[in-house]
Symmetry: C2
């Protein structure tokens, strides 16, 4: 027996329910950081590790494009690479992330070298890069649907970080401000794609599952940060050690 | 014993020698086509099959970008995707190729469906797409070095096709005219990359070999066309049959 497809409304509600249950704005590390309770060392550790995620996004998007035979989809998707790598004079989101790590007093070469990152960060990020080549094209595209939940987290971050940390100014928050426009545009496109292309219940479930997977990718990064930099004494060998 | 590296001059000469021996401007099908001796059906078969190659190039370039961790290289390389897929109002090289197939009287949906192409075309093209993920990054980048030899073939094509076929006008040759600027820019960048990054003799040989491989990818496509559409009676089942 094949299950009946969800209606479009039920399907969208199921996707949004994944965010309500699992998006990383619910993680204790997020609350700590944006609630103004993080030490500068914890803030640095977060920005350093999150750089690995930011820097991997264009590879993930290129991997996706490498399997898409439909030129119109590639012409839409390439915008994501422009957003992160920049295009021409715009140096892009990764560069804006480095403004944040600069602002936190981290050495730029050290950040780019990724030498101090938690191994769990890299494992989670590379699992995301791989998922867009290993799943169906529907799953690959819909793995970005966490962008549906991003604008509210970015707003929380901007307000929380500016209000609570005197070493964080407007300029270093440029990454998040830019994403306030970019993320909804991408999420709307992907949500429409999901609604149009996930026709069977099985396809709908695969989209819901890939969104859970993507939430896990984000959540696991904060778990690793919490374990290393909040629970005392758990920084793994070789990882960044804050200067107290 | 490890062989001594070639000097930069010897290395470049070795690369250029591959073109002099193996580039597809030497193929009998090329000579037939651009020497004015091809039938319209042969011209159509060529444009139809070559579309498969053109349409695959952005996937090949995205596959390459998906493995490049250096943002500066990705920011250069993405231009190739723009060239073929277009960017914004520019609809790109694949669209210009379709102007050629339009001009040859081929139905556009039929061309895009790839239903009538020779299986050998697809096999060769997909081998090229795969090679950029399966080899080293040096090989992946240098597989494009056939662009070194492209401007002269494009000039031959433009002159030969305009002079010899009354059904080919200036507008349908737009693809090749555009490539006269694009190909040398790309080839120069890749040649410099090869000179800088192929330091050992083994690396230099790997670059020479990948260029041979790429010449084979192009040559095999013309072999398949010659066998099917010049040698009589060899069109494989399901492939395009010209209307005489």
């Amino acid at each position: 027996m094949t299950d009946k497809p969800l209606s479009i409304e039920e399907f969208e509600a199921a996707l949004r329910a994944v965010g309500a249950e699992r998006y990383h704005n619910l993680h204790p590390f997020h609350k700590l950081l944006h609630g103004g309770k993080a030490s500068k060392g914890q803030m640095q550790a977060w920005a350093l590790n999150r750089y690995v995620y930011q820097a991997a996004i264009p590879r993930k998007d290129a991997a996706l494009m490498s399997r898409v035979h439909d030129r119109e989809i590639r012409r839409v998707w390439i915008q994501r690479i422009h957003d992160h790598d920049g295009l021409g004079e715009d140096l892009g989101g990764i560069e804006r992330w480095l403004k944040l790590t600069d602002g936190l007093g981290l050495d730029r070469d050290y950040v780019i070298s990724m030498k101090g990152v938690l191994p769990a960060t890299t494992f989670a990020v590379e699992a995301y890069v791989r998922c867009v080549t290993e799943g169906t094209q529907l799953e690959a595209i819909c793995s970005c649907l966490t962008e549906l939940f991003a604008p509210s987290i970015h707003k929380e971050r901007i307000a929380g970080m500016l209000a609570n940390y005197d070493y964080i100014g407007d300029d270093v928050m440029a990454y998040f401000k830019k994403r306030l426009d970019q993320a909804p545009r991408d999420a709307t496109w992907a949500l429409n794609y999901a609604k149009e292309h996930a026709r069977t219940r099985e396809q709908q479930e695969s989209v819901i599952n890939i969104l859970r997977f993507k939430c896990n990718v984000l959540w696991a990064q904060l778990d690793a940060l919490y374990h290393a930099y909040v629970s005392p004494g758990h920084i793994p060998p070789g990882a960044f050690v804050p200067v107290v």
